[in-house]
Subunit: 486 residues, 4 copies
């Protein structure tokens, strides 16, 4: 397993084509806007070496028996699924943001099931290709970006009918060495901190959509891959030279548009190529795993609850009954989320390949709550923080001689709390509810791993309504229903 | 293990002093108001003999290795805790009401931990007494009422300062054969369907409250025990001679006031007697177990969701997008509850006695949601059912010649759905949201196993705020807090 | 204006054909199940004679200038609309239930607009017929039932395609004296306490549905009209001989199925007959007025809040911060409802006939909130009441010698509060949240004046989305939209 | 009345001492961070000259009969109060942000009541001073900052016991010409766009707090007044040279800390000076008026709803039933807010001075909803907008040759919608839910005019609980309560 430092050095070797604010970024690792997100990923390496987290963040490879980072592991039992949820909460709490590495883990696990199933049905050898790739990822301890979301163009049209056929990534050429693909993947979390990109289709495909049914993996700096960074609320505070106004002074996240400008993929890196009847399964499995991954927001919630409590203490109002009740409510909602990510793990089951999948119904239920509760937790945090959170002068006003005395004097509360501490904690709450981290804690909680309506559709598909109706009929004395069912 | 029939017969042998509507009930088992609740308990016997439910409803006694009903089992691992939650949902779905037997199971498990701990501290022999009693309960396959809630009198005063000292059950005499107790336990679920009553204190006690610190078990027909039945919304529909208007034509629940009019308890049945420093532990453990037991409401929710779906189908509107969305929401809330009762089991831990306890924090979080979501599920069920649910003529109007033709004609919807079926399903929804079952599904969900505020207090005690605050401080750059903590 | 006593006597003269529990009711006025609902209507007469309520409950007829009961008044200005909302709250608070008389007022006002508009378009003389009828109603101070909701049969089919053509009330014969109608109106609030029935179509009609487009008024005891009473949760408690267990010892409501078994209507009582293009307008106007009428639930909410506060005081917990906060929340929700019924009145406008209509958008917004907040207020009331609300023994247990002492003793709280008072207030909360009054406060709040989805459709029709989009475009710098709109 | 241009020019004449990002701002009017907020205030002048808004934004001075801007008007009747709410919504919709001018209007109206009442009680001449000042404000058409919120220091201590006595603004000197004050007012909305500052105490004062009981008005550039600008989420996007990424390309808001560094106030500008028993009244009146002023958020909600609808249309999903339902919900919540600000106006009453005050209970109910619904409307807007709202590349990426083609291509949806339009509308939603406008629409909605708990306290004080309890008692048959009250 790499150390955090080795991880950072490994990234320096990549030749990525990255754009930010309309300009090419030459040194991605040290770019002040991007670096905090790299540091967040690095924590997935760092903590793996801490003995107290060993059980959570490391695992034994089922391929080699070697100790590996859990982010590269294929789940071999319910315990692995449970540990994954705990790992998410832990890292969310440690970084206070999106640490970006779960998406690759989810892609690997989904592919471990689907490549096996395709082979069983068609006699192909995708599973062996996949295992070879997996062994490489595990040995090198790599970060993989799991790239699913196409840009989709006109949402009322299927891939093949789009005015621009590239709105869904597709194969434009096949030859004996491999395939050439074109298209783009949007909202790619942590893409420029990744060694690898694993591409998957974004929706269930129809038979005529074979060119759009493609899954493969590539080094992130493969020729023709272009990264355009998304901007975040308050992103440029990282360029201002201080730390206080950043809120989270250590970590962040990022998302990018990843363009595949006619990119070659060798056959050994292709894991699905035209098997359109399996596209839906891959999407559902990846989505279910990734909806579980929103366990991380419980950890971010821990940070926000801690910050709100400190704000109340610094303001001198922590003992007020309404403040205490709001803290209870924040915790209640946060722990309700925790129950969801644990339960979908507990109710997981073994797939034919031996991989354990989470319970799809409960994973969707969990994610649906994630689209709601962080917003309410944020609202309560803003309630507790007080309006100063959005009217506070800047860090520079705390430093400049003309303003420093007034800022120090008039934002002082309890005599034992430095004004600067109060400012720092308020800026952290701003960061989590309006700033760069709100992108992850709120909007990504809404749309990441699928928008709320996607979960509702899955919930409606996976509940056993026939059983519920039968119970109801029996209890009210309807012997047989109108369709003759008992 | 007894069969349902044997259970019913065993109850006939009890000589209970029961009052209902101001009159003594001579034949409790066949009383039409009480009988549906006995039938619900009987399902805990009946299903134990069904092979498909064996894993859920039976267990191996850790005392004898014999196969026993899980309701008499002491949890020996996480799996037992998980199975308990699944058993609750199953029986809730089968009966559509409170099946009453969990409270004794929770009392037994809590006592298995606390009697052991008292002995370790004080050298007493409660645990051996308890094990002997447990062996008896397991062997005879008995229903135990777990009696905790005292009547409490003036809530602003502790037990010893009450104007009426009997508002908390207490010891009024001790002798070499045993003790004599006086007081009452309120809201006793399923009491008159029980073979045994297990009494526990209702709050943490202070040193001066030793007389109030008492736990014991007695046969339910011990001399001096008096049962006064609580009445429920729509209870007398069971006396009308039909079935349709009952809604749930098979099952029900009941609660009683249990008066201890100077009742003698032999020493071998006394499990706590004055050890006031352990009262709080017993209360918290029983409460946590019993908050998990609200898993049953997920099963009742299954029935209500099934009923709402049938109502929509019978009304011919099941395809409307807003109806489908409401069904999704009902399921989403119901499965969120399910996540809670699974998660508190999964995160359980072993106590010194070997018994596994649920995770207290998550059990309280689960129960807190139970005080909310069933109300919203009910509201949505009423939305889907339509107003007819509360304006429907009576069963007798469906039968009487003068009205039958109009009722048949004008409440007809789809040609393939008998009007009677529509009436039955609407009456079931009425039963669950306003009638006898609403007592269990709503108000008992609110107050059973402790009112919402009790859970909020436990949540505030059990979350690790220090860890959350430390994470927040670290991320915003506060090296050391105002108290010098890192 | 009649007195309450005169009103009661006037009802005795009616020869209604009423069925309840499958039997013909010979003396409707004194039937113990029905009588409380008559008493509630009687309050609309009683309070009209109290000087302090004169401004609210009486008005000046715009026909004669005479002082009349507001329930027979045609709104002549914004002030009338505002007073209507205040009257609703007042009577809701006085009766704690549905007082049934608003529906006729709403029908009269809607017809005053639509008959005028039909005449203007077609040269008919409906408006004069209507004014003559109105003068009669005002002079005699009558209660009118406003009957809109047809039984609807298969909801996926329009009236003309129903397998049973009578599922929508329709004209089966026209002659020179009048028309003959057949069908039924469901959920008719207060029907058997009414002197008159005013029938209206239930949906917008198409040109081919002329036979279904009919509005008229008849004496409630016209030949061929049959009333089948709906049953309510806990209705038979009124037959038990006591009062305590009724909860509300004075008042109630009722709903009936009203069958029109080939009933003759003379032409002077016909207000619409085939003008299908006006059916939608009549439905929308009546619905908007009637959605405003849910002002009454604010008054019922006042009672429930008062009861919850008393329960807390009787329990000795009124000073707990969480109790106080729940009372605030109940009040907050209740007053938010009040804002809605006031605002839709304030924003009303004059129609061509001179009648003032409420603002349709805001009336629908108000009613939509009524489908939600009473449920939450009820949940909070149950929280505050405590579980005893549903486990309390019966009134007879308080009286019977064998149980009286135990009930008195063990349900005693504060020494200055009689146990009976505590029982009464808990029974009132039960009545409002589970019993007969819950039918009105909850389920009728959901479905009365149209189910929630009906309001959502109206909201979506009445908001000015074009204006909102234009504002958004302007602010983000989109000079012209994709359709070329500025 | 000034024009917008005259207003801007009038500001150029002020010599304000303003700091931003630690530096003195020499040209406040043209500072790119501040200017959008000035432009928002300018709209209150601009629209006053549009004939279609004349009724809403202008009024007749009760002093002179002249046509004046309503923001300088003293409410002379219910109609004025209602128009104020409509003006708030209108300007919120026009600017999409806080237009800052209501706070001065609310201060003037509150003072018009309290100065009159003080004079009546004490024989002082504050009211005449105030009227003279008011005439000046009306004639010159000035913007007044209403400054109430002190910095408060340690919230557990009253003013006089603060370690730093300046945490509440106070009088440090009185002489025959006037007084000298020291302290600071926090969160001052629009302060540097104001001609005048009107200072009021922030809490009810005790007799010993006379030095803290002070109200006065000063020109905003009076000697010793220092402004330190608060920073907002995304504030520096205004410095980037483009417009797209600003979201709202026209308008904004600002808040400042206003320091009074020993500032002299002449007696004719002093409106309260030590009359501590009136401080609470002034606070409550100003708070009630200002809580009504949150009518503006309804207008901002209009913008956000329009933006969400456009985003759905641009994404090609506006026809999906779940999208339509979310738009309905947003409108429903927004119009519920509108009902609140109308109702508190409708129920206003005349004060002794002739000024009309809003209904305090309903104003607090309204504001309490403002602390909730905008958060839910924002959540729904983010749901509809899609994740692209937070992963979109920057405006510069749309312009730079290397990225322009990819951004144009891959964020294209419907062929008739320019990619830039889609980006603009998403940036507007970002602005309103995470960016500079979120400060106003969310956090200021929470805390402006008092935090939620302040409203709850007022609600609990202003509801008539005695009446509610009496109604409940009567209905359940409790003739007399435990205190002997009927």
């Amino acid at each position: 397993m790499m150390t955090a430092r080795q991880y950072e050095e490994s990234l320096r070797k990549l030749k990525l084509e990255v754009y930010l604010f309309g300009r090419r970024v030459n040194n991605v690792v040290d770019d002040p806007v991007i670096r905090p997100s790299m540091k967040a990923v690095a924590q997935t390496y760092e903590l793996a070496h801490h003995p107290e987290y060993e059980e959570i963040i490391t695992a034994r490879s089922h391929l080699t028996g070697a100790k590996i980072n859990r982010f590269t592991h294929i789940h071999q039992g319910i315990d692995d699924l449970v540990m994954k949820s705990k790992m998410g909460r832990l890292l969310g709490r440690e970084t206070g943001c999106c640490f970006q590495r779960c998406v690759g883990m989810d892609a690997l696990n989904a592919l471990s099931i689907v490549t096996y199933d395709i082979d069983r049905k068609t006699g192909s050898d995708y599973y062996q290709r996949f295992l070879k790739y997996l062994a490489y990822v595990q040995e090198k301890d790599l970060v993989c970006d799991g790239a699913m979301t196409d840009t989709k163009g006109d949402r009322s049209l299927p891939p093949r009918q789009q005015p621009d056929p590239d709105q869904y990534l597709h194969i434009i050429e096949k030859n004996d060495k491999g395939i050439v693909v074109r298209g783009a993947k949007a909202h790619q979390t942590g893409a420029v901190n990744s060694h690898e990109i694993i591409v998957m289709p974004t929706i269930a495909m129809r038979a005529e959509d074979t060119d759009y049914t493609v899954s493969f993996a590539l080094p992130s700096d493969a020729s023709g891959i272009i990264y355009i960074m998304g901007r975040q609320s308050c992103d440029t505070r990282k360029l201002e030279g201080g730390t206080l106004d950043m809120g989270n002074v250590l970590y962040g996240g990022h998302e990018t548009l990843v363009v595949f400008d006619d990119v070659f993929v060798p056959w050994e890196r292709v894991f699905m190529c035209g098997e359109s009847e399996f596209a839906g399964q891959l999407v559902e499995l990846f989505a279910a795993y990734h909806r579980q991954s929103y366990a991380c927001k419980v950890g971010v919630g821990d940070v926000l609850i801690g910050a709100a409590q400190l704000a109340a203490e610094y303001n001198g109002v922590a003992g007020a009954s309404h403040i205490k009740d709001k803290i209870v409510e924040m915790n209640h909602l946060n722990e309700t989320l925790y129950c969801g990510c644990l339960a979908c793990a507990l109710e997981g089951q073994r797939e034919p390949s031996g991989t354990y999948a989470v319970n799809t119904l409960l994973a969707n239920v969990h994610k649906q709550n994630v689209t709601r509760f962080p917003y309410e937790i944020s609202r309560l945090a803003q309630d507790i923080a007080g309006g100063l959170m959005v009217t506070l002068p800047s860090e520079k006003d705390l430093e400049a001689p003309a303003t420093k005395k007034w800022v120090e004097k008039y934002f002082k509360t309890r005599s034992d709390v430095p004004t600067e501490h109060r400012m720092r904690i308020l800026r952290l709450i701003e960061n989590l509810t309006l700033g760069t981290a709100a992108v992850g804690y709120l909007t990504e909680s809404m749309h990441g791993a699928g928008s709320p309506q996607a979960q509702r559709i899955m919930i409606s598909r996976r509940v056993n309504m026939a059983l519920k109706k039968k119970s109801a009929r029996k209890l009210c004395g309807i012997a047989e229903d109108h369709n003759g069912n008992e």
